[in-house]
Symmetry: C3
């Protein structure tokens, strides 16, 4: 009323200081949260889940992106489709369950009925001249990237998803995600802004102290380190990492598995990065034992010791694909200071629970890691809410991908704001 | 901040498309909710409960209309009065219970004491020149329509309530609501805007599938149907309804009970509609058996098979009066997406629970029906909150009264906005 | 949107009517709440707790003042310090517990480490030219008034705290608060604006009816009464009070204990008032028995029958110091209609629980009294939220200190608003 002269969003975007965390309003302001929903989650490609969630005709799941609820389903021709979850009559939500199976979409209010392709086929008591063809479900753009479902709420989705698609298919192909099923699913609410969840994901500077389970298999050095200032123990560990990594590179080359880093995290709408990373000890999987958690390997793989393919997309996802299982992560804002993290563990569709894998063993590392990260995100949200908070410096060695996330975010906001002004 | 250029309320009102649901902000905007409280609930006549809730001197109940809490009480002369529930000293809420009995109104904070007519009679420690007569409770306009209590928070209530009063007394009189008592009361919170609760009440298009208990006694055809397009089964059912209805009309004429539809739902401030409707099977009451639930009939009635008198008022009520009991409904907004539904079941004041009636049997139909409607309202609130929602078409055959509700609402908003501008 | 033309804060301040409660927005408006945080809690001296909460090096407690979290700690040199609870790296909250003990401040996120004087001493992976000296914890102004800790969030705290300090030390000294420890602590959330909590504290007009436990020891007449209009019983009680009070004055003079009223509640930033008041019956302490609750007296006191020193500070505290124990109260806003009341019971540091005192007996009066006041505050919040609420008159005889609180509040707002405009 008195003390908070409104700083315009374009000014905040323009004055963002590279190499530093964002200014507080980006994490706390309800207005910027609404802008994020409109300009980022309303216009960019979003990862919403693996296609393994909808394997048969009529299978569906729903996902709420801010106030927008969408239905993702498998149609009668085995195609994937997404629709807005709103009846065209009185606006009722059509499907209120997180997932399920159906033959037609029937609104519970007045039984307006839609085909799986969205066409309205039944609406009683309407006028003689009522036009069914104008009242089908509103479609949402959908892309199936080798078993990973992306949607875009905009009328005109960013075109450069094609480049992402071309680049990533060879990396994803060996893991055959199209032939997986969901072995386990968790939906975790984190008490922080979605960008803090993303920033947390983009570095492993916090791993050594906070993730005792994850760092059994994952090398913190895979994401960078300070070249100077390391003590003797640390220098030895870094050398050891380099030796192990080059051993893996030989394996990947021999197996014909793409592994080199591709980094398009900034300068594009469909920003992404991928890299195949060594796994410590047995080298097989992100498990407590570092061995595979599922005996039936993914796709047609026969080599267990493949390390892990990491795949990150802007603005809201990351994935880890090992020889035996994959884990997908989708980040959905719930409010300025609340975020949903949807995690899905995938195994080969022929793998049998209790025979080929044990759910507890398959999921324990990332269930613990997610809970630890949620705690860190909540602490950060509390801190940046203080008027005393000022942007702090990212480490140039271990927080480079955080900087790229922040940079992409600011770039995209600026582009959309320019577009709106034009 | 960027994507939601504020659309002015007058523009939204002016561009409302007849025959269609309202635009989303009417159901979701906090600002329009505040406007509804100020211009609709702050200026129109509101039904708040039957006079049967306050039968003896000193009996009171409280009701919160948005941030406004009022006390309705029976005074020492058996008159009904309403006051603002605010002490004139430091502003404390005087009565915090939903109902009770008292001799004087004593503020719990510093014991300022008021008579049942609102006069301040005790305030210690005040200055010698303190004027008690300037510090009485603030009164609220109240009308008792044959046992139904309406209040108006405005300084100048709409005058056309007189016309409603004159029209309705003959219809209500045979049911003798002044000589009833409350057999059961429920306060149900619905997770939707109050207008969705009202729209849901104004049609029975949704009844056949959603209200298995109610439709045992109530004909869905009583509220209209499509003349064309009905299949043979449905045509036969409609014919059967017409025959039953005309049988009831003979009964009503013979008994001298007013029954013809009166519809003043639009074009007036105190909008209302009434109609006596047949009841199926035994024809007596809205019960599972369709027979009376109370052996002692209302007023001086002797004919059990009277169908049901339905009485709707804008903006916030409806009632069903049968030969043996009546059910009143009062709708009170709690927030943009939360609404209170207060339901009261009335029986003759001489009826004895356990002898003349059983509460479970008396109330089961509307308890179930209310719960079913609350679910539909919540689904609709979720749906219209989506940016993908656009107004949909009402059925001209079964949703005519919904259209009249929407039309009245928009008319009244326009009138008040014009008044504010003038 | 339509009915609430925004009234500017300066207008509301300028038109405040002396001798009356504040207008509703001061108690209910989210904008004025934010202003209170910025201009009152952001700029004035605030009492946050007794130094007895941090007795040893490394002891700390945290307190959240609106969105600002601060750490109060005892450093290695036994000094008291306050810091913002925000890591200078990514902004995480450093300490999430209400209190504890530590050797260094280590951020849980990436292990940035600070000394107890706030200096950053460890931050891994940063660039070679990273300047540790620019990334220490942000300090907060702190004053230790004879064992009572005040902080100020402003860059330039009000200077007249010095006058308060000089005036109060002689009154506080005999009670030796620096040599106490916390026997019991409660944090109570009241459902009302912080100013209603303060107004409630500033009068005892409500005591007789609402505080049966407190009024055993405390005379309601100590805070004023109407000279006229009292009945015979009351006149006799007032005379009795005067006799008892003058007896205490002789005791205080004999003991050399300062007792005369000092009232600087208005016209200054660091507003305060003190007065030593008689205690009824045994005259020793604010307990149910009116006798001391702790056998070991405070400081070097030997006289048990000392009545009670009351000490009030604007904007957020009051304290009662008896011969055997002291009770401190700190009021912290949580929202427009939610307030935290932190109460601490202090006894001599050598007193032994179970031997010298019993916690139940020590605390029962103020635990009950706080709960009763919380109820009254909640009722008042509900009442002033009604659009029907209008400011009411304070009693000139019993609500003079309430008026002074309101006057100070409005004075300070006006001064800060003028400063902002200048």
């Amino acid at each position: 009323m008195v003390m908070t002269p409104a700083i315009s969003l374009p000014s905040l975007v323009a004055r963002r200081r590279p190499g530093h965390t964002l200014e507080a309003p980006f994490y706390t302001s309800p207005e910027i949260y609404e802008t994020d929903l409109a300009l980022i989650f309303g216009r960019e490609w979003l990862f919403v889940g693996p296609s393994a969630e909808v394997r048969e005709p009529g299978d569906y799941f729903t996902v709420d992106i801010g106030p927008t609820s969408i239905i993702v389903l498998r149609d009668d021709d085995m195609g994937l489709r997404a629709f807005h979850n709103v009846c065209r009559h009185r606006g009722a939500r059509l499907l209120d369950a997180p997932s399920g199976m159906l033959a037609k979409l029937v609104c519970p209010y007045h039984q307006w009925t839609y085909e799986l392709d969205g066409a309205l086929i039944h609406a009683e008591h309407m006028a003689a001249d009522f036009d069914f063809s104008c009242h089908g479900l509103k479609p949402v753009h959908l892309r199936d990237l080798a078993g990973l479902i992306f949607v875009c709420l905009a009328d005109e989705p960013p075109a450069d998803f094609d480049a992402l698609d071309r680049a990533m298919r060879p990396y994803l192909a060996p893991h055959g995600l199209e032939r997986t099923r969901v072995a386990h699913a968790t939906d975790l609410v984190e008490e922080g802004n979605w960008k803090l969840t993303m920033e947390n994901n983009r570095e492993c500077y916090h791993c050594a102290t906070n993730h005792p389970e994850l760092t059994i298999s994952l090398f913190e050095y895979g994401f960078g380190f300070a070249p100077n200032g390391a003590n003797a123990d640390r220098a030895a560990a870094i050398d050891a990492y380099a030796r192990i990594a080059s051993g893996f590179e030989e394996t990947w080359e021999r197996a014909g598995t793409p592994w080199r880093e591709v980094d398009c995290l900034t300068g594009c709408a469909a920003g992404f990065r991928t890299q195949r990373l060594p796994i410590d000890r047995a080298g097989e999987s992100q498990t407590l034992s570092t061995e595979v958690a599922c005996r039936r390997l993914l796709g047609d793989l026969t080599e267990k010791r493949l390390g892990g393919l990491s795949f990150w997309t802007q603005p809201n996802a990351w994935h880890h694909l090992m020889s035996d299982h994959a884990v997908t992560f989708s980040v959905i804002p719930l409010g300025p200071d609340r975020t949903l993290l949807r995690t899905r563990w995938l195994v080969h569709e022929d793998a049998v629970e209790g025979v080929d894998y044990d759910v507890e063993r398959l999921t324990e590392v990332w269930r613990e890691t997610n809970a630890q990260d949620a705690h860190l995100v909540a602490l950060t949200q509390k801190g940046v809410t203080s008027p005393a908070y000022v942007p702090g410096p990212y480490s140039p060695h271990t927080e480079g991908l955080v900087e790229k996330f922040a940079q992409w975010y600011v770039e995209r906001l600026a582009a959309h704001l320019d577009g709106a002004a034009a």
